[in-house]
Structure formats: structure tokens, C-alpha cells
Symmetry: C2
Subunit: 280 residues, 2 copies
């Protein structure tokens, strides 16, 4: 299978909603222990609550790594549980290194039997730090999302620098598109090599969609970071080709006893908001 096809199909069948699993200890609801066991209880609870609505979950590795190797055990268990529940799993680790080391990261996260479907990748090192991941996309049916224009306030400090007729992020978009050109899904024509473009930069999103017509776009920054359904609309083509991530706005919709139900409702609300802008 090709990840571009798998993702496109999941978006069609369910929605373009991706739920970010960012279990910061300080924000965990009442009754959840502030340890690795609590992380797993919380993450699997959120998965149960959103699995019928969301196409993907995106565990943010930092929050698991913050609890050392026990946190990493909870991370792997979370990924396996999500996979079993029929969700696509995007590990948000923004990994990057020189070629020989990226090979180890690719083995770590995108091996054949991994419950992880795709990994986020940071591109500062150029193509030889991305190619080992692309190899696993080819051989193991996995995907990656390469950072192009990130959702944070200071993303422009490097990404918006002008270089000739274009910005760094536009240059990066063209690299990502070229890296993915050999990996288009036979059904969807979307590549296994995706890009990350923040919901907080709607103008850039619109232009980047045109620069990368076959690239699936992971759009973070919805909700708590300020992105709206209208902001992400231009990332889509006929209702597909993009997934929109919300983390805090869904998983911490309530910190009381009804946190699961509140998360499910928040995911459903986001699905409807997106459907409303995408139907036009």
C-alpha cells in the first residue's frame, strides 16, 4: 500500500480531523495519575473518544519522552492501541540527522511492523537526511511529513528568509514535492511524502498548495493556536489532500470527569466545522 492512498481513503471515509495527543502532565484531567501510566490511560481514553470521527492521531513524542523510557513505553503502547482502533498514527518527532543516523531513526519508527504510519521530519540538513525515511516509505508503505512552514510565531525567522525569487519555505516546498514525485499513490495521486504547513499562515498555505499539488499537507495550529476552518480551506482540493490537527482544543476540552465525552464532542464539532467550509 501507498501512504498517500491510505491517508486519502481515511479522510474520505471519516474526516480530515487529526487529533494531537499532547499529554502534558500539568494539563491531565482529574483522576489521571501524573506518570507514564497516567499518560497511557489518558491517551487511550482520547483514542476511544475520537476514533469514529478522526482519520488520524498524532502523538507528540516530547510529552512521552518527558517521562524517560517509561514515557517511551507509553508512547509505543499508545501507537499500538490507536492502530488497533483503526486510526492512522502520525508520530510527531520532527526527527532529523545525517544520512547514516537517519537510517537508524527510520528503522526506529518506520520499520515494516511499526504501528506508526508516518513520522514528522525536520529538513534543516537537506536531502541526505531525508532519503532514509523516503526509502522506508517506498519499501514499507509508510509516510513522512516534512516541515515546510510551521505554525509558530517565529517560524518566519528562518522559513521566510528571501532567497532569490522565493522564500526558504517555498524552496523547501519544491524540494518536498520533488522528493515525493516517485511515490504517488496509484489511486489518489497523493504522495507518501507530505508537508507540514501551519493553519496560522493561511496565505502561505494557499500558495504552498499550488506549489505542491500532489503533496498531502498536515496542517497543525487549529483551535488553541488560533487557526480556523476558513484558514485551512485552501489546503484542500475537493475535500481531500490535507489533514488538520487540533491538540489542546480537543484533548483538554474538559479537565473534569467528563473529559472523554468532551473530547469526542470537540472532535465532532471540528469535523462539522471543516465539512461546512469544504462543502462549498
Amino acid at each position: 500500500m501507498n501512504f498517500g492512498d491510505v491517508l486519502t481513503s481515511a479522510i474520505t471515509q471519516k474526516s480530515p480531523v487529526c487529533v494531537g495527543l499532547d499529554p502534558a502532565l500539568k494539563n491531565l484531567p482529574e483522576g489521571i495519575t501524573k506518570d507514564a501510566k497516567g499518560l497511557l490511560t489518558f491517551s487511550t481514553g482520547i483514542i476511544d473518544a475520537v476514533k469514529d470521527v478522526a482519520a488520524c492521531v498524532k502523538p507528540q513524542m516530547a510529552y512521552f519522552e518527558a517521562l524517560g523510557w517509561e514515557g517511551m513505553r507509553a508512547f509505543w503502547e499508545t501507537c499500538a492501541y490507536a492502530k488497533l482502533q483503526g486510526l492512522l498514527v502520525i508520530a510527531d518527532g520532527k526527527r532529523n540527522d545525517i544520512g547514516s543516523t537517519c537510517d537508524a531513526y527510520a528503522d526506529a519508527y518506520l520499520h515494516k511492523d511499526s504501528p506508526i504510519d508516518a513520522l514528522t521530519v525536520s529538513p534543516y540538513l537537506g536531502s541526505d537526511g531525508v532519503k532514509p525515511f523516503i526509502e522506508r516509505c517506498k519499501t514499507n508503505g509508510k509516510g513522512i511529513f516534512v516541515l515546510v512552514k510551521t505554525s509558530n510565531v517565529s517560524s518566519g525567522e528562518l522559513q521566510d528568509l528571501p532567497t532569490g525569487d522565493e522564500t526558504v519555505h517555498e524552496h523547501m516546498a519544491q524540494l518536498v514535492s520533488s522528493w515525493g514525485a516517485d511515490l504517488l499513490g496509484p489511486e489518489s495521486h497523493y504522495s507518501s511524502i507530505g508537508a507540514v504547513v501551519g493553519a496560522t499562515y493561511p496565505e502561505e498555505l494557499k500558495y504552498l498548495r499550488s506549489l505542491m499539488p500532489n503533496t498531502p499537507i498536515l496542517i497543525p495550529g487549529y483551535g488553541a493556536q488560533g487557526g480556523t476552518a476558513a484558514d485551512v480551506k485552501s489546503g484542500f482540493v475537493n475535500g481531500n489532500g490535507a489533514i488538520v490537527n487540533s491538540s489542546r482544543g480537543i484533548i483538554f476540552a474538559s479537565k473534569g470527569k467528563g473529559w472523554k465525552e468532551a473530547a469526542g464532542k470537540a472532535a465532532e464539532k471540528m469535523k462539522i466545522e471543516l465539512q461546512d467550509v469544504l462543502k462549498d
Copy 2:
């Protein structure tokens, strides 16, 4: 304590040698099991062999992560062991994310009681993805090394792009220098905020040293990647201000039964090579 001072002192007392712990399973010497236990046996063996010569070890997280949470347990045990043996520990994870998430990475690796002294950081997201690390440098006496010009073949694809009168990596160097300006060690005048510049780009190293006069430079790419003692010389000022990393050339100097002794000798040889070029 200030990490710039601690590093400078370790270089003076021992050497500018940093030994990269890159325990790729396929390269482990005979007699070492190809699992997380083997990783720890190998890493602690290398630490024993080089501890009197090297100022630092640099565990490359990818090789530990490749063995899942058990690999991460071996990673933390390796860091703790190196610390006990009097080595500075630079965790090579090239972590990066938006501010709130970087806060979790900073908690994970640079908390007060962490055996890790410094972490490598990838800068594609700009300053708000670096500031949480800088905070921990300030409050917990830790350090970071931010990627500026990496040692790999394709590093120029992004890092050498021209932007106005300078390249992306020169622009990044100035950002790193400014981020570190408030964190100069009172004794050494070197900052806790360091930079990564590859030994494989000696011309760039020379210029970047002049752009970042108070920034300690971590120079990877020595040995197996092609960098020589002559190549790294311009990273130093009066024999200090830089550490040079060799991984494969030291840790896999022999894959036979004498691997520990061979690693010790290779580290000693590197120390002498560096002393020879730095004494002029």
C-alpha cells in the same frame, strides 16, 4: 555553574575530544548481543576506554531509539554512567518543535537532575522553538548546541542558500550568537549556547568562528566522515572554544575482542593529532 565554563574547563583539563556513541547494531563487536543490553554493555565499555582522554561523550539518540523503549532505557543508563565517570554528556537528539512542545523536550533532557549536560537542537522553527531550551541553560546550568552548518554532503541545499548578503547558515550563526549573549561563562566568556559546524567544511568553520566569537562549537565529522585535525583548527581560539567529535573512527576502531583497547588508543591518537595542530 555555567555550561560554557564547565566545557572550557573540561577541554583544558583533558582534551577537545568528544566521542560519539553511535552503537549501530550491525557494527557491534563480536561477543556483544544485538539488543538493548548489548547497547549498554558496548556504550559503557567505550566510556571506560575513553574517559581519561575525552572531555565529552555524545550519545546519538537514534541508535538507542531504534530499540524502542528498552533502547531508551539503555540511553538513560549510558548517560548516567558517563556522568559518574566524570564525562560531560551531550545528548545528540537534534530536537525541535514549537514553544510549548519544546518546553516538554527541555523538561525531558535538561531538567535539573538530568545526567545530560547539553542537547543538540535543530533550528528550522526559529527562536520560539529554542527559547525553552535556553531557559533551562539559564536555570539549570545546562547547554545546547544549535545546528548551523552540518557535516553531511547535502547540508548546503538549505544551509548555503543565499539570503541578501549572507547564507542561511551565516544568518543562523548570528541568531545563535545573539541567543547566547546573556549566558557567557564568567570565567571562560564562552556561552552555554553552542553551535554545530561540521569538520567537513573548514572554510565555513573559519568564517563562522569569527561570526560567533563567544560560541562554543561542536565539530562533528572527524575521521570516518573525512574531517582532519587541520580542518578543525580554525574552530579553536588558543586551544579552546571547540570540541571535535569522532564516532565510528573511535568506537568501531576494532570489531574484534580488543575493541575497548582499540577505542582507547584511537581516542588517544585523536587527542595527539589535535594537540599537534593546536600547539602552533
